[in-house]
């Protein structure tokens, strides 16, 4: 069992039929020279990697741009094509006064299973009353939250708004919500590790695609930036596999992580159990 907890479906063919929308999405999210991929081909790619579950992360900076890059309805549309495979997350722009209503609609009507926010693109710090208002809804509906953390390659994104330590007060305040910081908060990997160590409701995903190939970047982050045994001895229940597709192909990302030689027990947690617990499953 393997869950990829970080996929941006920007190039999923069913939501790419409007060329101008696709172009503006790729411009904002910084994806170039890549073509839309059909669902059957994606399924083959997931089978190749052994992936049995996929978190789909949308993109909403619409208060500024006028339109979402990947809307909640588009996420729901993809989930409906294969509800056993896909876990759809909602996004809203907290600067928009309709954001609360949109989030409630996404949870109640679209059945989306959590919230994704990229504060780097929104240019607001996590400890902002507008974000608290959104998190109050997640608390009410019992939904987990994924925060983009660290460097973002997306247009106009500023890393200072998503430095891991900026999330501490939010994670502490909403101790009944599970939070996942993406990209291990790179380059602030030690800040992320500190939050994972202290807060039971803090998780981080492995979507790393900054320097080098997957073998090198994973070794650098998990064996050098972090102590050799930090994952095995302290954080094995806090790290969730995420590829960061389409910036990197899931099968390749997993091979890099596999090469670190974590114990089988830890690998099972990273590849499946932790993602399920993050979602709220009691079984893992």
């Amino acid at each position: 069992m393997l869950i990829d907890a970080h996929v941006r479906p920007a190039l999923f063919e069913p939501i790419c039929r409007d060329k101008s929308r696709l172009d503006s999405r790729c411009d904002a999210m910084h994806y170039h020279k890549m073509n839309p991929t059909g669902m059957d081909l994606l399924k083959k790619q997931y089978n190749l990697a052994g992936i049995t579950g996929v978190f789909l992360l949308p993109s909403d900076c619409s208060f500024e741009t006028g339109s979402t890059e990947i809307s909640n309805d588009e996420i729901a549309k993809i989930v409906a094509l294969d509800p056993d495979l896909y876990y759809g997350f909602a996004s809203v722009d907290p600067r928009d006064r309709n954001s609360a209503a949109e989030l409630i609609r996404s949870f109640k009507d679209l059945g989306l299973c959590g919230l994704y926010l990229n504060t780097s693109r929104l240019h607001i710090y996590p400890e902002d009353a507008r974000i608290f208002a959104i998190l109050d809804i997640c608390r009410e509906y019992g939904k987990p939250v994924i925060f983009h953390a660290g460097l973002s390659f997306e247009k106009d994104a500023l890393a200072k708004f998503s430095r891991p330590i900026e999330f501490e007060s939010v994670i502490a305040k909403y101790s009944d919500i599970n939070f996942c910081l993406t990209h291990m908060g790179w380059p602030w990997v030690q800040e992320t590790s500190a939050l994972l160590l202290k807060y039971p409701n803090a998780y981080a995903n492995t979507a790393l695609m900054n320097f080098d190939g997957p073998y090198q970047i994973y070794r650098k982050v998990f064996r050098e930036d972090m102590g050799e045994l930090w994952v095995e001895h302290n954080l094995s229940e806090k790290i969730i596999f995420g590829s960061g597709s389409p910036r990197i192909r899931p099968v390749r990302s997993k091979r890099g992580l596999d090469s670190l030689g974590f114990s089988e027990e830890t690998r099972k947690k990273i590849y499946y159990g932790n993602a399920m617990r993050f979602l709220g499953s009691k079984e893992n």
Binding site: Y31, M34, L41, D212, Q216
Partner: protein
Amino acid sequence: MKYLLKEETVCADKEFELIKITDKVRSFVSESGVVNGICFCITEHTTTGITVNESLPCVEKDILETLDRIVPEDYPYNHNHYLDSYGTIGGNAPGHLKSHLTGNHCVFPVIDSTLMLGHADDIYFCEYDGIKLRRYMIYVMGE
């Protein structure tokens, strides 16, 4: 003189795979009506190849395993870095190098409307960076 081009699509089931395309090439030569001429088979991608070899599972396995030994997956290739022009990691250096070693095309005579191959020859599309939807060209020139 006729000049005829056909583009075929192919999709592997694995990341690295040799896919036999002999029948597709023969079939187009036959359709083309060219009696005497030449046939080119050319891939459109830089992490795939076109080659000829004997269609035995052991030979196919040896080809792929030998390429893996020459071009290991975990070597720190120059191409393995963030490519701003794509917004992605260039993680497919082995595919480019295997493609380079294989070559992007093969050429065959067409005599008496027949694609000329050796008795053990089969034509392969070589996938080194799958799984993707791929295209290759069959180009027949002749009279």
